[in-house]
Subunit: 887 residues, 2 copies
């Protein structure tokens, strides 16, 4: 270990600096850095982490020469502060704080106001002119020191405090006067003697060494060890200890305390922004007993307020110059705490300031314009959460909310409205009532119209890739799923949430960003998309390699996608087109058909409708590829299940209910996710694939003849065996060639497949010989790799995350260790046998930043995600590429 064990920081000098975190801890290094750039930090010194480790390894012995170094620095501190440690008239008080190389908030110990005893407290009282404050500080110090250093049960101090409050008939601390605190001090000291058999130490040096020792020891207290285990922090880092002069903003009318941001944290405007209180301590600002004042005009909310700029112009100017210095030094917006003690400005802390999404983007862009940072840094600085916040209304953080239940945050944003318990009802109600929240056990494809009308969707079941979740994300609508606390009684038309009953029509709010379900309406904020958003997004394109496409099934979705910068459609699900009123009937006719002829007749009715959809999409995507997946879901999804509905439908279709019922029974499957769907349908009924390909190619030919560039990519789902793809490919090629001959035009089109089954990944070399592109269906792949049904997995995942069996929902963020391994195998095998293979992903993971990083690192060509995730995907793709190149 180093000879030097104590590092001083103070007026315009410091022995440490920012990059000495390992030796000085995060806090210590930061204090040194602040001092180095001439910020007026209250002086002090840092004991190194090496001392902590030595102390632990040597049974509580300090290294040689350590005491001397501490004493020297303590002397220096007194000189600099012009106060004496232990003086009864002009006492120096210090804080003793832990500070490890890695932040471990609240895990280790801290002692404030150290240096108080029966003598020095009087000095503090006269210095502040506030006896009550002095004795309150004193009793707090005894309480803190008594519990932390002397290991007396904290509750016992609280009991004394309570008894005095009771005796004085008051309910909160602030109502106690100086005399009461004196009495408490006395009782506290008696408690210490009773509990430990020793007097509370009045010697300030004894106090200092006791506190230091306690902080060093706290590195190895139980909760710190457990925290390190969970967070994977090495045990051999040790903690530093910071001893720093206490300063006070409550020493008279020429003292003050405040908090400031170097720029407006709400909107990012380049204005200094902050609040302060004259003659007050930091905690007064927080406690909200006195209303803080704006530091300057631009921070003003009300006209009659007095600004710091007006009251203490000199102090304000010094603060303002520090503001500029901070931004230039830290190259980011800072949040600083300051105290003015008798006309002297102290900066207590500076750190990167929290900001709204809006502000985050504006500040990043402005900093580039002001040449403080480069574009790369700006792109790295904005978080996916920031972007999310820009795209969806959020609950006003100042709102008081009553959370009644929590589910999975399936689609971000907040929405309020009246509870409605069926999608059909929602459509009816929507005639008079516009603010609705659909609450269901789960949703199904038939519910789409109703879902579209509601402000948000809440389901009791399902996971992050359940129907409700996928559809809501596609619509950009807030959604909470898998909310197990909710019991829905469709008959009584109520929902029960942990014994509270809500009726159909009651108002609730859901927060799809957090998963919260909230009682009543709450205020929301919806950021505007300002110019800076577009600028930042353009910058992402300069860095990213991945192309971003969207999962879009309609011309409207396609339009939104282009607005958000999608460079193509990575997944167009044809089945969503089947649910229109007209269409579903034709689809059902097709399903009921007993023979190929009748089936073709029904398909002929669907053909022109599908074709129109494709034309609309192709038109919007002019010049960009459109990946269209052939029919994927099992046919029973298009039929009703309940007898009543079957009877109604049978009437409509002119068949007997028995026939319909028998078809429903025939199509019933024990595990539909593993059943007759995907290409299995197309192989049993090639005429369905043929109809869809005809619709795609007729649309492509016609739109192309209108002068628009069309790039269709036809995608076969659920392939597990190259022979499946071969069979379907034959149908695709035959149909496409025929259509192009009829239309007398040649269009370049591509044929590829989803990789969404483990077997497809494992045999990707064979499959790649027949495919021009792969698109990973990570939802299904996660499902089969884990053996988790995404419709049922909710409660299991909850248990697993709670028990720390898995870290994150694998349906939300790619399971790199399992599913990721399969993907790597597939990419490697696929590219090896077909180097031209285009590789993308169209599962829900395409919009998840961590997953995007994985796809980027593994050589994907594109990710495809729901339209409202596109900006996030663009950002994440750029960040991944920048970080990749930094390594």
């Amino acid at each position: 270990m180093k000879e030097k064990m104590v590092y001083f920081f103070g007026k315009d000098m410091a022995e440490g600096k920012a990059d000495m975190k390992n030796l000085l801890g995060g806090k210590g290094a930061n204090l040194s850095e602040m001092a180095l750039i001439n910020l007026p930090v209250p002086p002090g010194f840092t004991l190194t982490t090496e001392v902590c480790l030595y102390y632990a390894d040597n049974n509580g012995k300090y290294p040689d020469n350590f005491r001397e170094q501490v004493n020297e620095n303590m002397k220096k501190l007194q000189q600099l502060m012009k106060r004496d440690f232990g003086s009864n008239s002009n006492p120096l008080l210090v804080s003793v704080r832990s500070g490890a190389p890695v932040s471990m908030p609240g895990m280790m110990d801290t002692i404030l106001n150290l240096g108080l005893n029966d003598g020095t407290v009087k000095g503090l009282a006269s210095m502040t002119g506030n006896e009550r404050f002095a004795y309150d500080s004193y009793r707090r110090f005894i309480q803190m020191y008594g519990s932390v250093v002397m290991k007396i049960d904290h509750d016992k101090f609280e009991e004394i405090l309570s008894s005095i409050k009771k005796k004085n008939n008051v309910s909160i601390d602030i109502e106690l006067n100086a005399e009461s605190f004196k009495e408490i001090v006395k009782l506290y000291k008696e408690l210490v003697t009773k509990e430990t058999g020793m007097e509370f130490p009045s010697d300030v040096n004894e106090q200092l060494w006791g506190a230091m020792e306690a902080v060093f020891k706290s590195w190895n207290n139980e909760r710190a060890i457990e925290y390190r285990r969970i967070e994977n922090i090495p045990d051999n880092l040790g903690t530093a200890v910071n001893i720093q002069a206490m300063v006070y903003g409550n020493l008279g009318e020429n003292s003050a305390t405040g908090v400031a941001f170097t720029r407006n944290p709400s909107n990012g405007d380049n204005h200094f922004y902050g609040e302060y209180l004259i003659n007050a301590q930091g905690e007064d600002v927080v406690a909200g007993i006195r209303t803080p004042q704006p530091i300057n005009e631009s921070s003003k909310m009300q006209d009659e307020q007095k600004t710091l700029e007006e009251l203490m112009p000199e102090m304000y100017n010094e603060l303002y110059s520090i503001r500029t210095k901070l931004e230039n030094h830290y190259k980011d917006m800072q949040d600083l705490e300051f105290t003015i003690e008798k006309g002297k400005l102290w900066i207590l802390q500076t750190r990167t300031g929290k900001r709204t999404p809006n502000a985050a983007i504006k500040i990043a862009v402005d900093f580039v314009k002001e040449k403080i940072i480069d574009k790369e840094t700006a792109v790295l600085r904005v978080t996916p959460t920031n972007i999310d916040g820009m795209l969806h209304p959020m609950i006003d953080p100042d709102e008081k909310i009553t959370v009644i239940a929590k589910g999975l945050p399936a689609s971000p944003g907040a929405a309020s409205g009246r509870i409605v318990l069926s999608a059909k009802k929602a459509v009816e109600k929507a005639k008079n009532e516009t603010e609705l929240i659909l609450v269901r056990e789960e949703t199904s494809p038939e519910d789409i119209a109703g879902m579209n009308i509601c402000n948000g969707i809440l389901t009791a079941r399902g996971g992050m890739t359940s129907h409700a979740a996928v559809v809501a994300r596609g619509m950009g609508k807030p959604c909470v799923v898998g909310c197990n606390d909710i019991e829905i009684d469709y008959v009584k038309r109520i929902i029960k949430v942990n014994d509270i009953i809500f009726k159909d029509g009651d108002i609730i709010t859901i927060d799809g960003t957090t998963g919260n379900v909230i009682k009543g309406d709450v205020k929301k904020i919806k950021p505007e998309l300002k110019d800076e958003f577009g600028i930042l997004m353009d910058w992402t394109d300069e860095f990213k390699c991945l192309e971003i496409r969207s999962n879009a099934d309609t011309p409207v979705d396609a339009e939104i996608s282009r607005k958000f910068g999608a460079k193509g459609i990575g997944l167009c699900r044809t089945e969503h087109m089947f649910f229109g009123d007209q269409r579903i009937l034709a689809v059902r006719e097709m399903i009921l058909a007993d023979n190929e002829k009748d089936r073709k007749k029904a398909l002929d009715k669907i053909l022109p409708m599908q074709k129109e959809d494709f034309k609309g999409i192709f038109k919007v995507m002019d010049g960009f590829p459109v990946v269209i997946r052939t029919l994927d879901p099992p046919l029973h999804e298009f039929l009703p299940k309940e007898n009543e509905q079957i009877n109604i439908l049978a009437g409509k279709m002119g068949v007997t209910a028995a026939k319909l019922r028998s078809k429903v029974d025939e199509l019933h499957e024990s595990n539909p996710m593993l059943g007759n769907r995907g290409c299995r349908l197309g192989i049993s009924f090639p005429e369905i694939t043929a109809m869809q390909v005809r619709a795609i190619m007729e649309a492509a030919c016609e739109i192309s003849q209108a002068g628009i560039k069309v790039i269709p990519e036809i995608m076969i789902p659920l392939v597990g065996n190259v022979n499946e793809l071969k069979k379907q490919k034959k149908v695709v090629i035959e149909t496409a060639e025929k259509v192009m001959e009829e239309k007398k035009i040649n269009i370049e089109y591509f044929i590829g497949t989803m990789i969404e089954l483990p077997r497809a990944a494992l045999t990707a070399d064979d499959i790649a010989k027949e495919a021009e592109f792969f698109s990973f269906g990570t939802n299904d792949l996660t499902q089969t790799t884990f053996g988790f049904s995404r419709d049922d997995v909710g409660p299991i995942l909850e248990t697993y995350i709670e028990q720390d069996i898995i870290k994150k929902d694998p349906f939300a963020s790619l399971d790199v260790d399992g599913v990721g391994k399969l993907i790597k195998i597939a990419v490697e095998k696929g590219r090896k046998s077909n180097p031209q293979l285009e590789i993308g992903i169209c599962g829900e993971h395409g919009g998840d930043p961590d997953s995007i990083d994985f796809f980027n690192k593994n050589g994907f060509d594109y990710v495809s995600c729901s339209p409202y995730r596109i900006p996030i995907a663009r950002l994440a793709a750029a960040q991944s590429e920048i970080m990749k190149n930094k390594k």
Copy 2:
């Protein structure tokens, strides 16, 4: 290519031999071989495959010198046969047959009776004294040559034949006389002229060269090319052509024809066995118009029959000496065709004789005893199908059966009985009626008692690993599943099979070896297990490395398993024990419990029952390991689904029907196979695992104290993540240690896991660190790797196999390319991180020979299969190891 293009074979000499298949084709090499060992084969010669390839590559030109070689050999043939090609008095007739290196039955062309024309036909008539035969041969030759060589539509010949039959008012060929055939010959020749503008060639050499050319060309006809593509036969093999003298068994009373087996093909007895007909051709034996006679006493069925031995003792003795020669040369029982032409014996063909399972085993064992083959060869010679045939009753091959439908052959053997439509009903009916076949849509665990009572099980749904299939195999009971042609109407109590209606109580037969469903009762044969079976089985143990264990859930199963030679239990499913009348109630109480306390109370009731089961099994398996799997199926499997049953049960349990209904609803899952089952249950309710471990360990301790050696292996199902195993392992260890402390005895036990999810295989290195053994659950692994639900896969698989998308049902025989790849990854990773890891497999594939070969080659320690598959597994394991070492 070689100079020599024609290889002669004839009296005691041949230019080729058996190992020249590539040059002479299979048939040619075999004819040479027969000649070489001095069998009296009709002489002839073989044109090499090289000529075929040259001919194809050179636009139908023959190599230089080829014609000369053919002509020379033709001359030699005439001399040897003492007949002249084209002679009107003593004509030589030949056959021209294709014969490729790899058998391609029926794909290429053959011409018989070549050498006939208007002159030679008279010679044949006088030689045979049978004008009708001569002209029938002639018209057949024209028809064959006309269609094969001259490409005249075969139907046109048939039309002429029909018209003549009509004119003569007869319905079959045999009724036509010589005059009619003469007329047909005339009409055929007219047809040839009309169709080709040419006369039918009367020049016998022109006939010969035309036929040779046609056979060479047929190598590249469409169906042969397609056949090679499907069977993966290289296109560059070419076919040989065999030209061989025709001999006739119908040239008088000193001529005969017959078929013989060197040993009895029904029971394997070491007696020469065969049939013959005097003055007849081979086809007369087959056509069944005359009844063939026994060749000797030991072939006699009726007393009054005249044997060949009696009638032609010299011929018989020659044949008998050939019998011995054949067995010594081919070292297997042979099936030979012979013809006696005017007192001269000819052997037309010899090949390995087909035999019953019984005979196969006896012959293999006898051959070893007679020192003709070694044990290794004997083990390789018996097929798994032979073994299967020994263990289950089979339909008598002589029975005429009416197959009414076909399903999947889920459990081998044939069974007949009256249809019963519910398991419960079966139990009732069984009081009076013992022969029952249970017919259901599908079965469920509640049906076990009923299944056990019936002779066989037939289901309309499900695949090779559906509940019915697995349970039936376990019981050794015939079972056909996934029989889609069956519609069951439980209300009307009928089943409809392709519009035929069967009533409850009607008799049907199912054949679980073929998947056939048969109308009425049929005669069955049930081979006895003779000594040879045991001898052969013991030999397998000398060669195999794999250990064979059984899937057994009861002491009875365990007993059967030991009888068949299992060396342990590889899978004991605890849940099957839950379905007893007493038990299921306690299980349901446990499921309905709202809290841990109530749950434990219910579990306490189950504990002693489970413990007794384990004691019984441990007792039987003395000294052998028993792998016990903790609870696996989803809890809803233990509850009824229909309202009526729910009401009854609620009454029994003293809870409201609403509460029970609500629990059923709560447990409902969209895809139960991917739902809350396996270790997921044990993690949610560790008390269930604890109860099971307690039952296992208490049983183990008590049995062990009784002096029996117990080796329990506790297996955690459905692990996908090492943390799941860690959690469950903790419960197992804690409980086991506690029990052993209570019982004051220490028992070595092992903890391992199923590998049945792709994620488990992919992260096997992590999992192996916590596991002492892996057991591959290939049923579930196949399910998730393919994304096939085994309960729903029936119709999909049917389509896929029909369309040649997959070759075999992957639930019956391991999918080596996909699932196999995962298994290889898991074995490699698992062994790498834990070299002591024991690796086994307990899926249904453990009893499939091809799969066993895969497991053996990939270093498994054991396979575990249902009790009745054990002998097959032993044989397959030995065969795999022998073949591995041969390479």
